[in-house]
Symmetry: C2
Subunit: 245 residues, 2 copies
């Protein structure tokens, strides 16, 4: 079973506060994902790691026929059921390692910043291909491999005397596997996979890769949060858009 760090009270509170502010996800991961989102009207959508359900609600409001949002965290789903309700949405507590429990028939499988928690990416990719209809699409984001690379989770920006980020240092990129670091709490488990491993796994599972995006913030986002300019030094996120033939 995947780690359920989101139900840790300290993590949940820290993450909830982060989500209310000017965070990287809202400022340029979600805008990039929204640009890549296909028309969902009349479609059946699965959102893996749906969190607060904001994306599920958006899909339903855009006319999706049915949206299933799954998440491992009861606390997240409690927020989703309060903030993001719609007659076409169902929320279900489920580990993304257990997708074999679902029946096929999805036109879009969407996931924002969850797949770096998946211990077995090959199994996840195989499940996705099985669940998609022919022509169905996968749109997902994850932390960029440059970010997850270092074994000690201590990849970092280097700064000049004025505190401006000027370069980035990392290590262990080619060592695929588990990474244990700190994010609000200690012991947060992620899985690093090099870019080549990620894309080859998706291709071998039977997906045609349409777009690979390493999003950068637009000017409006940098005006809101000047530190975002450091995204031009190294990427934070990886987005893959693919389809099943």
């Amino acid at each position: 079973m995947s780690q359920n760090i989101f139900d840790d009270p300290v993590f949940f509170e820290g993450y909830y506060q982060l989500r209310q502010g000017l965070n990287y996800k809202d400022l340029f991961e979600q805008p990039a994902m929204r640009r890549l989102l296909p028309d969902v009207a009349g479609k059946r959508v699965l959102d893996i790691g749906c969190g607060y359900g904001h994306n599920c609600l958006e899909f339903a409001q855009k006319g999706a026929q049915r949206v299933l949002g799954i998440d491992l965290s009861e606390k997240m789903l409690a927020v989703a059921r309060g903030e993001s309700t719609h007659p076409n949405i169902e929320y279900r507590r489920m580990d993304m390692a257990d997708l074999s429990q679902l029946n096929p028939g999805y036109d879009l499988i969407y996931s924002s910043l969850a797949f770096h928690y998946a211990a077995d990416f090959g199994a996840l990719a195989a499940d996705i291909v099985r669940l998609l209809n022919p022509g169905g699409q996968l749109l997902y984001s994850q932390e960029h491999p440059i970010v997850t690379a270092s074994i000690d989770c201590k990849g970092c920006y280097n700064r000049d005397e004025q505190g401006r980020a000027i370069s980035y240092t990392f290590s262990d990129y080619a060592r695929s596997g588990r990474r244990v670091g700190t994010w609000f709490v200690d012991g947060v488990v992620k899985y690093h996979r090099p870019m080549g491993e990620i894309l080859t796994t998706l291709a071998r599972a039977g997906l045609v890769i349409d777009e690979v995006v390493e999003p950068t913030p637009e000017d409006w986002a940098i005006r809101k949060k000047p530190a975002l300019a450091q995204e031009f030094i190294k990427p934070s996120f990886l987005i893959v858009h693919a389809h099943k033939t």
Copy 2:
């Protein structure tokens, strides 16, 4: 026209000496490319940036029906015509920016460590798709975007007191474009493109991506050249294997 640095006498001599020794290309780029090479028997092959023609000779010896090796450098081609002759091989001096001069009909387009010199990667990808037969394959390698990223071409390993590489520092990854650095001589021009840009360009041109490989050296290679162990810190090369439907 692309820069013809290979005909610079100082560069040519430095590069020729490098090629005779234990270099990264021979120790793990070429072994990885060879593992990915499809059966070429009876096939028509185009080698872009064929250099000394060693790969062209290998394709011909493996039964390729016809091999066209192109390179911008007369000095390289003079070596190829001496070292790598075969009745099924033709060498032609040609800039990879001029592929529109060729007729379609190739089953495999191969290129080792040349595409980071291409100023217009979209045009190159479009030419490749036009030249390939349906079902034809592209197998190419280039310098990894992590290596080409830094504007000042000063990406570097960081070393501990014993001189062992422990991490890698780079910058400017998201700034796509021209890079001018030093390799034997000053003023060597390359083009940095982030991974996402490379793969999306190939996909949009009409190629299905089958494998994306960031090769690491095997044990035998590290025994020959211990410094290769640092390849587990950051990748040096990117290999893409794709096909036209």
